[in-house]
């Protein structure tokens, strides 16, 4: 009797294990997926890609940077990944903590090793930024909600008019 009960219990345990394992695990996630906490959208690329291009990444700032030090130290994510820039249009997503971001931009990076210091600005250019829909001359403010993502943060990258950081912030000579 006990043996039969035990057999039933063992089969039930293994079945429960199998059932539990069927549920969950890593799942495919579209770039603007439901589990994303951050921003996502589309980047349109224009112009000729410079030969010295290493990558293009998207970064965000909670407050508009005032100095080159701010540009590096306040960047989110601190170590960004690249977006595929060789196509004319690319979807992207960036994981960011929930917050209000004053400046979301695409950064072009030339070949060379980043040191994560203000000196990095020599390798970086502002390639484009998300613009205020009401006044496209101004940066757009983006809100990443708690537990969610801000979608449709689209902008344009112009390889022919990459702009140095000094167009936007003050950098002291190093």
């Amino acid at each position: 009797m006990l043996g039969t009960l035990y057999r039933v219990a063992a089969v039930a345990l293994i079945s429960a294990s199998a059932f539990a394992a069927c549920d969950g695990g890593l799942q495919p996630e579209p770039i603007c997926g439901p589990t994303l906490i951050g921003i996502c959208g589309t980047i349109h690329f224009h112009g000729t890609i410079p030969d010295s291009t290493d990558n293009v990444f998207v970064a965000a700032y909670a407050t508009f940077p005032q100095t080159c030090t701010d540009l590096i130290a306040n960047r989110r994510p601190f170590v960004p990944g690249s977006v595929p820039y060789t196509d004319s249009v690319a979807d992207y997503s960036v994981t960011l903590p929930p917050a209000v971001y004053a400046w979301v931009l695409a950064v072009w990076k030339k070949t060379g090793t980043l040191t994560l210091t203000p000196a990095d600005t020599a390798l970086l250019r502002v390639a484009g930024y998300y613009r205020n829909p009401a006044d496209t001359a101004l940066p757009g403010v983006v809100t990443v909600p708690a537990g969610g993502a801000a979608a449709n943060i689209d902008f344009r990258v112009a390889f022919d008019s990459l702009r140095p950081a000094t167009d936007f912030v003050t950098c002291t000579a190093r």
């Binding site: 006990l2 043996g3 035990y6 057999r7 063992a10 345990l13 293994i14 294990s17 199998a18 539990a20 394992a21 069927c22 969950g24 695990g25 890593l26 799942q27 495919p28 996630e29 579209p30 770039i31 997926g33 994303l36 590096i72 994510p77 601190f78 170590v79 990944g81 690249s82 977006v83 595929p84 690319a90 979807d91 992207y92 997503s93 994981t95 090793t113 980043l114 040191t115 994560l116 210091t117």
Partner: protein
């Protein structure tokens, strides 16, 4: 009348015999000896043993093996003569830990250990059809492997191979890498492994550095008498990703290999040689692995009282390095936020050459049944070359060790162990520099009964010991670490129920890699700078546990509450220098790891069905001055391990299920892809044996559950493996 100790006699004799199951099958790896003395031996593959020199007269000899009830008999031995004593052991799947060889460095027969010990038996290693020993150890309760790093009750976490808070021994010889302190789990061919003993909790009072969270001792197979050959062939296939958008190749990945062993032995001398190779396409993009190894072992009964063992192994691996999975934009991502089966562009054309080996020699002289000494010397070497997209790294490390140990039994109930150990490690590397580290130590331990024994039963036993280690780096000044330990076991009744308690201090000296690493961590884009001033990590470990007697005729339980208070834990720390942010390993954290480790064994259906259910609860707290307390990284709060095997005649089927909850915290969060899920893995296996041939089928992760245990590193997918073993 049964005697508890050999009678002293001037003349001596030899005892030979076999240990078999009551069904007649030879039991390999069984311990045979005289309790409370220096006299013991281990059976070979044929179940044979030779015990010498035994005092003439009546001696009570006991035989014990994992999964069997121990047996004892009184043997009368004439002076200068030999006798035969065969043992037939009753299978007893509920036998939890019949042998305690790790915690005290001494074999005990049926004693209740004072701390938790898990053992992986030869049968478990065989039926699990594993390629490396970590795959078998990973199934034991309270143990979790994180990308090759062992955690015993949450000891180590994940530090990318830069250290281990678990000490790895091969036949009692420390084998952690000389430079990084990590463990090469493929150092010993799995076919050469007799069993694995795992001590949970601090063991530094006997074993020194790295035994902070536990000790894993691999016992290799003894050389049997006669001529023996064994050939093992394996072949297998990896499943495709469960979602087509993750596909990364058109053909299924394959793996396969083979190895063989030849041995010849007499009563006086024996030697074995083995060699083998395997290849795997891997289950991810850029995951090719090639491995070959050779190993040899010899034993020599140099004198009636002296046995010499020499062993060695060399393994050579080349494996591609899928540094991290691809996140959006780092590969052809097909519109996905991440591609766990693909390597990112930065990790392409990355591979590692890894070579490691050791030679060890041990001599043991049994001066009398009361006194024995043992000496050993060892040399281990690791050599790696990492090729990355833009750079390369290399490191060559040697570790020399020597130990002298004296074992005394003033009477049949008391044991005294003292010893001294010395280790010298050096490293030559472009990322760790050229450095050396020396360790000198002395240790002692005493075990004895407390109070009176009633009815011939074992009574309570206490053991106490301490070890002092002196450490020096690059020939500099010595620093000392003292590691005391106190433990006791208290039998409850005659049916094996017992309580145990222990408290001990463990430590881990920083590895030379941690002190001197100087490189750019490509996954973070940050430089890691040296910190020669690192201090040893230390921890106090406390355990209160017990096991029940069998109940409901087929159940038995074992459980332990554990508590560890650690200081000066070494962690990677982001600091800002005048040159910008860098990572440095620092003694930053105090930590608390507490929890429950429980196992329920059941063997209904007349022992044909054996099952175990293990549950481990971990509560961890990381305490850094000025920061809020957080859980320790990479420690799942709940782990469940369920194992079942059903045997009928020469065939058996079995299953393992492992669950670990999602770790609440990982290190360097914000710098790595934070995706992580619980682990839920079901393995199925089947075995058929007939005469010298055994066939084993293993389907690991049969549900093809896709998960990761460390950031951006995919754990193995469903893998089917067929193994054929021919033994003669």
């Amino acid at each position: 009348m049964l005697l508890l100790a050999p009678q002293q006699g001037a003349a001596q004799g030899v005892l030979r015999g076999t240990v078999r199951s009551t069904q007649g099958a030879p039991i390999r790896g069984a311990m045979v000896g005289v309790a409370g003395s220096t006299l013991y031996a281990q059976t070979d593959a044929g179940g044979r043993y030779r015990l010498a020199p035994l005092p003439s007269g009546e001696v009570r000899v006991r035989a014990a093996a994992i999964g069997y009830s121990p047996a004892a008999r009184v043997v009368t031995l004439a002076a200068n003569d030999s006798a035969t004593a065969d043992f037939a052991l009753e299978p007893s799947p509920l036998e939890l830990t019949p042998l305690d060889v790790v915690s005290t460095k001494l074999p005990h027969f049926g004693d209740n250990p004072s701390t938790s010990i898990t053992q992986v038996s030869p049968e478990e290693i065989d039926r699990r059809a594993v390629n490396t020993i970590d795959e078998a150890v990973d199934k034991e309760p309270g143990i979790q492997f994180l990308n090759g790093q062992i955690n015993i009750r949450g000891s180590t976490g994940y530090v990318q191979g830069l250290n281990s808070r678990v000490l790895f021994l091969v036949d009692g010889v420390p084998m952690n890498q000389g430079d990084r302190g990590g463990i090469n789990w493929d150092l010993v061919p799995v076919d050469q492994i007799e069993r694995v003993d795992i001590l949970k909790g601090a063991g530094s009072s006997l074993y020194g550095s790295a035994a902070l969270g536990g000790v894993v001792n691999v016992t290799t197979r003894d050389v049997p008498v006669g001529i023996h050959e064994r050939i093992r062939l394996t072949g297998g296939m990896f499943a495709d990703p469960p979602h087509s958008v993750w596909n990364f190749r058109d053909q299924p990945g394959l793996q396969g290999g083979g190895d063989g062993t030849f041995s010849y032995g007499t009563d006086i001398f024996g030697a074995s040689v083995s060699g083998g190779a395997r290849h795997s396409d891997g289950y991810r993009e850029q995951d090719d692995q090639r491995h070959w190894q050779v190993a040899a072992k010899s034993r020599w009964q140099a004198a009636p009282k002296t046995r010499v063992d020499v062993s060695g192994a060399w393994a050579d691996d080349r494996y591609d390095v899928p540094l991290s999975w691809c996140t959006q934009g780092q590969c052809v991502d097909l519109g996905q936020a991440y591609q766990p089966f693909k390597v990112d562009t930065g990790g392409r054309i990355s591979w590692t050459d890894s070579r490691k080996g050791y030679v060890a020699a041990q001599a043991r002289t049994v001066v009398s049944e009361h006194f024995a000494w043992q000496a050993r010397g060892s040399w281990s070497r690791t050599d790696f070359f990492d090729q990355r997209r833009d750079t390369s790294e290399f490191g060559i490390s040697n570790r020399f060790g020597a130990e002298l140990r004296l074992e005394a039994h003033p009477d049949s109930t008391r044991t005294v162990l003292v010893g001294s150990e010395a280790t010298f490690s050096d490293v030559t590397s472009d990322v760790f520099g050229n450095h050396s580290q020396s360790e000198f130590s002395a240790y002692g331990e005493v075990e004895q009964p407390v109070g009176h024994r009633a009815g011939g039963r074992d009574g309570a036993r206490l053991n106490a010991g301490a070890r002092i280690d002196f450490l020096a780096v690059d020939g500099g000044s010595l620093s000392a670490v003292v590691s005391p330990r106190l433990g006791g076991s208290f039998p409850l009744g005659a049916r094996g129920a017992a309580l145990r308690a222990s408290i001990g201090r463990g430590f881990r000296a920083p590895s030379m890699a941690e002190r001197f690493v100087n490189l750019v961590a490509s996954e973070f884009g940050l430089r890691v700078i040296p910190n020669p001033a690192l201090l040893p990590e230390t921890a106090w470990s406390f355990e209160l546990g017990g096991r029940t007697a069998p109940f409901l005729t087929f159940l038995r339980a074992d459980g332990a509450l554990f508590w560890t208070e650690a200081q000066d834990l070494i962690e990677p720390t982001l600091i800002v220098t005048t040159d910008g942010p860098v990572i440095q390993l620092q003694n930053v954290a105090k930590a608390r790891i507490a929890g429950l480790d429980a196992t329920l064994l059941a063997a209904p259906l007349a022992g044909r069905l054996t099952t175990s259910l293990g549950y481990t609860y971990l509560y961890t707290q990381r305490r850094v001055p000025g920061s809020p307390h957080t859980p320790l990284a990479y420690r799942p709060g709940h782990q469940v391990k369920l194992s079942a095997d059903y045997s009928l005649g020469s065939a058996s089927v079995g299953a393992d299920f492992r669950f670990a909850s999602r770790p609440e915290r990982i290190e360097l969060e914000g710098f790595v892809d934070p995706r992580r899920v619980p682990m839920k893995v079901l393995d199925l296996r089947a075995q058929w044996a007939h005469g010298p041939l055994a066939l084993r089928l293993l389907v690991a992760n049969i549900l093809n559950y896709v998960y990761n245990l460390v950031p951006q590193t995919l754990a193995p997918v469903r893998t089917a493996t067929l193994t054929a073993v021919w033994s003669h």
